[in-house]
């Protein structure tokens, strides 16, 4: 009956329309002009609201930081307000959170205030930078390599000491800009030792969220550690996306595929997408020969989130040593003269000791650490994904 009604209706008011081009989305005439103007106002209101929200984030975090201030007054020559701009929210138990927490810790040590602008994205940060400097920040920490070009320009424009990451020597400007780098491959080498000794299936996997220099360096170190410990172990390598740092769903999907190739230990590097990787590991059916799938994290310590006992260890980064070194350089007048490296020696890079790692394997880790620090083992530094792929092949 309904179909019959529909057919009649079709003749009544919905004859097959002529195939013609749509009149388009933009209409002309006074009748459309007024709603269009209203829409522009509506959009402006929305953007103001979003902008206000972002500003609120900065302010709130700053107030929260103020609560932890001590009565220490910074020494002359040291910053009184340290500001950090991070691309994503500082609750990722990873890169962004680690950076913000390191800045807060070091600021508390010298009695400086902290201004945090997290979730700033990967676009132009110039307005945020200028806003923070106007608010009194006299040391800017820019927490993404994508900020380097504009960061250096802004530092020179505002005469504000700035920290860049991943710029190497090109980021150095005496008494103005310094640069932080990592020797994260050393920590990942240790993780590779653990993975090789823990794997029962004989296959380990590496999942990274992006073609990121730090991810590549760690993947290279991990591969070297595995190869040096058990050369016969197979290594599977997969990247989630071009910049899928926040894509948890894709992280889960790719990790499931890597586990399906037989990997029972996964090194996951991803920021927000790490959580998808973790869910994939938690719900994985162990591959042949294994009774469990393990996850090795990077940068932060997600132990408190590990309700299913799958977190084997983490290549932890701690930027406090480099921030303290930069403060010492300010006092010594050598700020911006050299690049700072986070490594095993200064305690900035390390491997999380968890109760999942048997004592004899941890001894192997300690032995490998000694060999790296005394120079008898040189961990390769690999920056490009294509070089990594060649290693896996």
């Amino acid at each position: 009956m309904a179909a019959s009604d529909s057919t009649r209706g079709a003749h009544r008011f919905a004859r097959r329309p002529e195939r013609r081009n749509s009149p388009g989305l933009l209409c002309t005439g006074r009748a459309v002009f007024i709603p269009f103007v209203s829409a522009v106002f509506a959009l402006a209101a929305v953007m103001l609201f979003v902008g206000a929200c972002r500003t609120a984030t900065v302010t709130t975090t700053s107030e929260a930081s103020n609560e932890t201030l001590t009565s220490v007054v910074p020494e002359s020559g040291l910053p009184r307000q340290i500001a950090i701009i991070s691309p994503e929210k500082a609750n990722d138990f990873g890169w962004n959170q680690q950076g913000v927490e390191s800045v807060k810790a070091v600021a508390a040590e010298i009695g400086a205030e902290v201004l945090v602008s997290d979730g700033a994205g990967y676009d132009d940060i110039a307005p945020i930078y200028r806003q923070l400097v106007a608010a009194g920040a006299d040391w800017m920490v820019l927490w993404a390599s994508g900020y380097n070009t504009v960061g250096k320009q802004l530092a020179q424009e505002t005469k504000t000491r700035t920290v860049l990451v991943g710029a190497f020597e090109t980021g150095l400007v005496p008494d103005l800009c310094t640069d932080f780098e990592t020797q994260a491959q050393d920590g990942a080498y240790l993780a590779g030792v653990v993975a090789a000794l823990m794997s029962k299936s004989g296959t380990v996997g590496i999942v990274s969220s992006a073609d990121d220099e730090n991810w590549n360096k760690m993947a290279g170190g991990f591969i070297a550690g595995v190869r040096a410990t058990r050369p016969q172990v197979l290594i599977r390598l997969a990247q989630v996306g071009q910049a899928a740092y926040a894509d948890a769903a894709a992280g889960k999907r790719v990790t499931e595929s890597v586990i399906a190739t037989g990997a029972d230990v996964i090194l996951g590097m991803g920021d927000g997408s790490s959580f998808g990787m973790i869910q994939a590991v938690e719900n994985a059916t162990p591959p042949g020969g294994a009774d469990k799938v393990w996850f090795i994290d990077v940068i932060g310590d997600k132990s408190i989130l590990d309700t299913r006992g799958i977190l084997l260890t983490s290549v932890v980064w701690d930027y406090r040593p480099l921030l303290r070194a930069a403060l010492a350089e300010m006092k010594a007048g050598t700020y911006g003269d050299s690049v700072g490296y986070l490594d095993l020696g200064n305690g900035g890079i390390g491997l999380l000791k968890s109760d999942k790692i048997p004592a004899e394997i941890w001894q192997a880790v300690e032995a490998a650490k000694v060999r790296i620090t005394d120079g008898s083992v040189e961990v390769p530094v690999i920056y490009k994904k294509s070089d990594l792929e060649a290693l896996v092949d």
Partner: protein, 311 residues
């Protein structure tokens, strides 16, 4: 790498296709209904973000993935209500409102996430699958297709439901008329505004389901900007589908298959730069656009606010 193509691996790839395709399918079906009624859902990304956030909260505090999906559906509905009021009732420009909704979705969910989960990162348990007796034991497709959560089957059923609604019911006829010949619909005594209004609400509800699927089923997690352009892909799929829900479904899972294939190519060790591999899904969509879009038929009044002559 020759031994990599095991049944488990192929099964994981098909699972990946479903995971990547399902949100696009649900949102694409929603967009199809909206477009057929003449309302461009440019704000799909915003609908999905609101729904992903609400869905995550619903599942987290309600303790059930179904409550999460329901919360997502309601959030999508609420966002669509805003769009319906602005675009259908007040006849504002659909492009401008759509962009505004995307910005609002991105900004608001980011702020809410920071406020609510600023110091924690709670996660949801995995959504259990429904093993279809007999079929779930088949090699390769048993785990990947016939052990999917119920929402997957609901999505498949929705393809048929939307198809029947649009093609075989009076309501569907009204919706298509509202997009093609709103003046004819009006002349027949049917309210164009009311028809479009309701179509936009249904569109938002389906997009909401898609957004909630992302946070509740795909990842068990909410993260700002986690839709990663899925809303835009849904719009493209709806346009390629030319009002045919079955083609929207085919497109969604084709895209999912290409995304999954990108992972497979990396793991198999094909000597192609990773950047090129990641272009594969988008190349497939662009190829489909070139091949089919020239013949694609969009409703004549799509994006055009309806005004009765003389009003």
């Amino acid at each position: 790498m020759s031994g990599i193509l095991s049944p488990e691996f192929l099964s994981a790839l098909i699972s990946g296709m479903v995971l990547a395709g399902m949100p696009l399918l649900l949102a694409g079906l929603g967009e199809t209904i909206g477009e057929q009624a003449g309302v461009l859902g440019l704000g799909m990304e915003g609908y999905m973000l609101f729904a992903a956030y609400a869905g995550f909260n619903g599942a987290l505090y309600g303790g059930s993935p179904w409550l999460g999906l329901l919360a997502g559906l309601i959030a999508g509905l609420a966002a669509a209500l805003l769009v319906a009021i602005l675009c259908v009732w007040l006849r504002l420009d659909q492009v401008v409102v759509g962009i505004g909704l995307i910005l609002l979705g991105e900004g608001l969910t980011s702020v809410l996430h920071a406020v609510q989960f600023g110091d924690t990162s709670p996660r949801l348990p995995s959504v259990p699958g429904l093993a279809i007796p007999g079929l779930s034991r088949l090699p390769v497709v048993g785990d990947s297709v016939f052990s999917q959560p119920v929402i997957f089957w609901l999505g498949i059923v929705l393809i048929l439901v939307v198809h029947l609604l649009l093609r075989s019911t009076r309501w569907g006829l009204k919706v298509r008329a509202a997009g093609d010949r709103p003046e004819a619909l009006d002349a027949a005594g049917v309210g164009v505004t009311r028809t479009r209004f309701f179509a936009v609400l249904v569109s938002g509800a389906l997009a909401g389901l898609g957004g909630a699927y992302l946070s509740v089923v795909s990842s068990g997690f909410f993260w700002p900007f986690m839709t990663n352009g899925a809303g835009f892909m849904a719009i493209v799929l709806a346009m390629l589908g030319r009002g045919r829900p079955v083609w929207v479904g085919v497109g969604a899972f084709l895209f999912g298959a290409c995304v999954s294939m990108a992972t497979a190519l990396q793991l198999v060790g094909v000597d192609v730069p990773t950047d090129a591999v990641f272009m594969l899904p988008f190349l497939a969509v662009m190829t489909a656009l070139v091949a089919f879009a020239r013949r694609s038929y969009l409703p004549a009044a799509l994006g055009v606010p309806y005004r009765r002559e003389g009003s």
